[in-house]
């Protein structure tokens, strides 16, 4: 389990619009990498290109290479669906399926794909995933209740459990705490540090303290102006980015002078 990600000269387009330009990055397996930067700088776009989710929008395409270990995600004949089953994603707002119970939400990755399994297998997956998401103790007595009945923080952990349940190689998180209160945020951050033992995690965040707390490495993205492509400015150990960044833009951003 857990694979590394390598981007080589990656450009992401929406139609003719170049959204992200020339990203080169190597993300090690079993690590937490944070993407920071001002709004609209392309970090979410880049994150979504890591599991081809950006293709949901019409006209989206990429140039360059994006390797999952040694396999090109955008290679010929690659099925985006297979990519997504290996690279899971947690979204900005918790989005449990409203028609499913908590249990079915965790099993969604299997159920939606029509996988058959025995009840004991399913129970094992549900318990494992919910324990992995630090949610088991809170919901074990109401697994058949709708997932939408949980609190926001619990819903987000349910979404993480749903992602973990299909045993992906990589987990992408797109500002997973931005809709949550501080206590729930802390719970998610704890969870991230634990998940790191097994998964490669990439997280986009607007909260610089959060990036400092959870990540080993940090990439800073910026944009020159409206209509210009976003670029990765600097990528280094998190402590380096926050304490003595080499790029002046990075320094101005982390010290709160803009963005």
């Amino acid at each position: 389990m857990s694979k590394s990600i390598t981007a080589k000269d990656l450009n992401v387009y929406y139609g003719d619009f170049l959204a992200v330009e020339g990203v080169n990055i190597e993300i090690a397996a079993r690590s937490v990498t944070a993407f920071i930067g001002p709004s609209g700088c392309g970090k979410t776009t880049f994150l979504r290109s890591l599991n081809r989710m950006h293709e949901v929008l019409p006209g989206a395409r990429v140039e360059g290479q994006l390797l999952l270990d040694d396999d090109d995600i955008y290679g010929p004949g690659v099925d985006p669906v297979t990519v997504r089953s290996m690279v899971g994603m947690v979204f900005q707002r918790p989005n449990p399926f409203p028609t499913m119970s908590i249990r079915d939400n965790v099993l969604a990755g299997y159920r939606l794909n029509g996988a058959r399994m025995s009840k004991s297998q399913a129970d094992g997956i549900v318990e494992g995933a919910l324990r992995g998401a630090n949610l088991w103790n809170e919901v074990k007595d109401r697994l058949d209740k709708p997932g939408s009945g949980l609190s926001g923080g619990q819903q987000q952990r349910l979404c993480i459990a749903r992602t973990v349940a299909v045993k992906p190689e990589v987990i992408l998180m797109d500002e997973p705490c931005s809709a949550l209160d501080p206590i729930s945020t802390l719970a998610i951050e704890d969870l991230i540090s634990e998940l790191q033992k097994e998964y490669t995690i990439v997280i986009v965040t607007h909260n610089m303290q959060q990036a400092a707390r959870v990540s080993q490495k940090t990439a800073f993205f910026n944009i020159a102006g409206t209509g210009k492509p976003g670029k990765m400015i600097e990528y280094a150990e998190t402590s380096t980015i926050f304490n003595n960044p080499t790029n002046q833009q990075t320094e101005r951003y982390v010290s709160g002078k803009f963005g």
Partner: protein, 332 residues
């Protein structure tokens, strides 16, 4: 048009051919059954959409094909003139009934829509909307029965009075009907039937009036009516027009109410005596009796085609206004 079967694959198009292919890519080992599922499903969806277009085309084709017999006879060749003489009183009758309906229904419908959107207690406005929608739920044959048995007789004294005092106007000349089964009664029934249609379109538009504009007017000290004329009506003008057009489309094509209410006859200017007929009523009354393949049947299908074309134009105009308005309001 992108084929929906490739909905996931915009990236494929951009794959540079010079990309170095890894000797083995674990990501390509995918289940082919799932891919087939996507293809089949999107194909079915596309097929359904195309089927609708084909159906509509068939409606036009079949009607045109079957109406040839009305304008062409083997011995005499083209008999267009004969058909026109048959069709024009019906077209005019249809227009008269629909116009009466529009004139009566439009002010009331706009008023009701305003009542729901700006006057009624906010908690009740939704239920009141449902109540008006119930008008649209009543089947047309029931309206026909009501118009024939209740509204018509109730209007007889009105017709008598109109004839007595305004008989010099051609509209009220002629013998006033003693059963009330006149084109005017039919028009009133049609008006009731299109009222909920116009109301619901207007209501939707009125509700969408930008709150900012309304509050700007009120903050200047405008009364509620002044606010409505300053903020709501300019915003909703196109919507009201298209609602009226949709109502007109419905009134033109409505069959049963007219077939039951009106005692049909020759074309006459009088609204209060029996006479006139409309295209849908003519078809409904004549078609079951027309032998298949006969010239009579062809004639009925031909006026059906005429009705189809008229309503098509009316409805397309209405939609065109709505769509233009959509762009307009989006820009603001």
């Amino acid at each position: 048009m992108t084929s929906p079967g490739e909905s996931h694959s915009p990236a494929k198009a951009t794959e540079p051919s010079n990309r170095q292919e890894p000797s083995h890519n674990a990501l390509t080992t995918s289940d082919s059954g799932g891919v087939m599922g996507d293809r089949v499903f999107s194909g079915l969806a596309l097929l359904a959409g195309v089927a609708i277009l084909i159906t509509l085309a068939f409606v036009a084709i079949f009607l045109s094909f079957n109406s040839v017999g009305a304008v062409y006879r083997e011995e005499e060749g083209l008999i267009l003139r004969q058909f026109l003489e048959y069709a024009y009183p019906l077209v005019i009758g249809t227009l008269i009934a629909s116009l009466i309906a529009l004139v009566l229904a439009t002010p009331v419908a706009v008023g009701v829509a305003l009542y729901i959107s700006h006057f009624s207690p906010p908690r009740l406005s939704k239920s009141i909307g449902y109540l008006i929608d119930l008008l649209a739920a009543i089947p047309s044959v029931v309206y026909g029965a009501w118009g024939m048995s209740f509204l018509g007789p109730a209007l007889v004294p009105v017709y008598g009075w109109l004839h007595q005092h305004l008989g010099f106007i051609p509209l009220f000349a002629g013998n006033p009907s003693q059963t009330g089964r006149t084109i005017f009664t039919a028009g009133v029934v049609l008006g009731v039937m299109i009222l909920p249609i116009i109301t619901s379109v207007c209501r939707e538009i009125f509700i969408q009036t930008p709150k900012l504009h309304e509050e700007a007017a009120l903050a200047l000290g405008a009364t509620r009516w002044e606010m409505i004329t300053m903020a709501v009506f300019p915003f909703a003008r196109a919507g009201i027009i298209s609602g009226v057009m949709l109502g007109l489309g419905r009134a033109l094509g409505e069959t049963m109410a007219v077939a039951l209410v009106l005692s049909p006859g020759l074309l006459t200017a009088s609204l209060i005596s029996s006479g006139n007929s409309t295209i849908p009523a003519e078809i409904a009354l004549g078609f079951p009796e027309a032998p298949p393949g006969s010239e009579r049947q062809a004639q009925l299908i031909a006026i059906g085609l005429v009705l189809f074309v008229i309503t098509l134009i009316v409805n397309m105009t209405a939609r065109w206004i709505v769509n233009r308005h959509k762009d307009f309001s989006g820009a603001n």
